[in-house]
Symmetry: C2
Subunit: 247 residues, 2 copies
């Protein structure tokens, strides 16, 4: 019954392409442009600043593989992670990061990135980008709500569900589980908690039968049930041309 991840096969659809296709169906020119771009991918090693890495700031990128994050560091060492960038996510798209100074983009794993094909090449591509941007925005709002109004326990579950949903689009969820290359300390810096407390809440969730974590792989036991309990409606994003996208 278990479907193995197909990402090893050379014929598999790349996660990034899969995600964009899921956001909005692509036409042939769009797919061709993306495939061409993907073939020109390069990689950025972990813990390196992404944007300043050789390719000039302002150029838009498509992340093909790996986890990155927008980070802000305070003078006294406190750190806040704004959110993560996952395979299929766009970077520097529309004043999203070239605009904001005080946010740094760092990879938590080695990243594979490629230039982002020009939206003008296809209306379907443009639309997919727009939906992606809208989702970015929704995720920021979700982050604010988590930090401001959810308890530690709720934050953990809500965050994991968000990641689950996002990775699902890219086909990176297998058997209700996904790889999450984050330490509990990093999770704490994301959710406004200490690593110690993150640990406790994860234990609690484990004991409650919500999830299992083993060797960097998160397994959500009943994602749909958990989501409903956590009050996560489907993230409905209304694209500019006004038909709704369900996640």
């Amino acid at each position: 019954m278990i479907v193995r991840a197909a990402s090893q096969s050379s014929f598999a659809i790349p996660p990034a392409l899969r995600r964009l296709e899921a956001l909005s169906p692509l036409d042939q020119p769009a797919r061709a442009a993306l495939t061409a771009a993907i073939s020109r991918a390069w990689s950025v090693s972990a813990r390196r600043e992404l944007v300043s890495e050789g390719h000039r700031i302002g150029e838009s990128l498509l992340v093909l593989d790996g986890w990155a994050a927008r980070v802000r560091q305070l003078a006294d060492g406190r750190r806040q992670i704004m959110g993560f960038i996952l395979p299929g996510d766009l970077v520097g798209h529309c004043g999203f990061d070239r605009a904001v100074a005080m946010t740094t983009l760092v990879g938590f794993t080695a990243l594979s990135v490629c230039p982002l094909p020009d939206a003008a090449l296809s209306p379907t591509l443009e639309r997919a980008y727009a939906v992606s941007r809208a989702i970015d925005e929704a995720n920021l709002m979700a982050q604010i709500t988590r930090l401001g109004r959810l308890s530690a326990y709720e934050r953990i579950l809500d965050f994991l569900l968000e990641v689950f949903e996002r990775l699902s689009l890219a086909g990176l969820v297998t058997d209700n589980s996904f790889v999450m290359p984050l330490t509990q300390e990093t999770l704490g810096d994301t959710l406004g908690l200490t690593s110690v407390h993150v640990n406790r809440m994860l234990q609690q969730a484990r004991r409650a039968g919500e999830l299992n974590i083993h060797r960097g792989r998160v397994h959500l036991v009943r994602p749909d049930v958990t989501a409903r309990a956590a009050g996560r409606g489907p993230t409905r994003v209304f694209a500019p041309s006004c038909h709704a996208v369900e996640m």
Copy 2:
């Protein structure tokens, strides 16, 4: 020595125009277009949903007067305010709100709004809009950092400083003070605190000589000193200051 607010005079520069001019110098066509738009302003009464108010969703607006906020309400009644929209701010500009479903735009005072002139009318106008958008983004990041990593006391000061800076651009700060039409409860929903604790922290700030509040008017005693103490660098928008991040 005290300069009185000039907003009563019919010759005064409207705050919104003033703000945009401050973001990026405007040329004559831009000013003319804005002045024309401002003359066609209408008002929206308090506590009404802004976007659904007669003028169709997707139309961009310029807020001329009043305070509004992006709000998200959880199923159990908890409320989180994402951020405020102040005079001179743009609404629905570029996928900022037409994109995101689960955020409502509500006025806390009566609002005066007008249609937003087309950016194509002037490059300087386009640039001002871009800067405004970038600031919106920076403010969202600031909000995340506040909620995730600042103490209650720091959140209050940081937030008030942000408002101070934003209203300064619109010329709405007089003698280091500004009008803030928010209850402590609303402040709590913004900063992830209870109204009781907001009250206590305000008292503390008052006793510390940081501020005075009287009849909806906030007076910051030494905004620059407070800002430096609170670790608020000036919000630099177009300067991608990229330094490596320690992890």
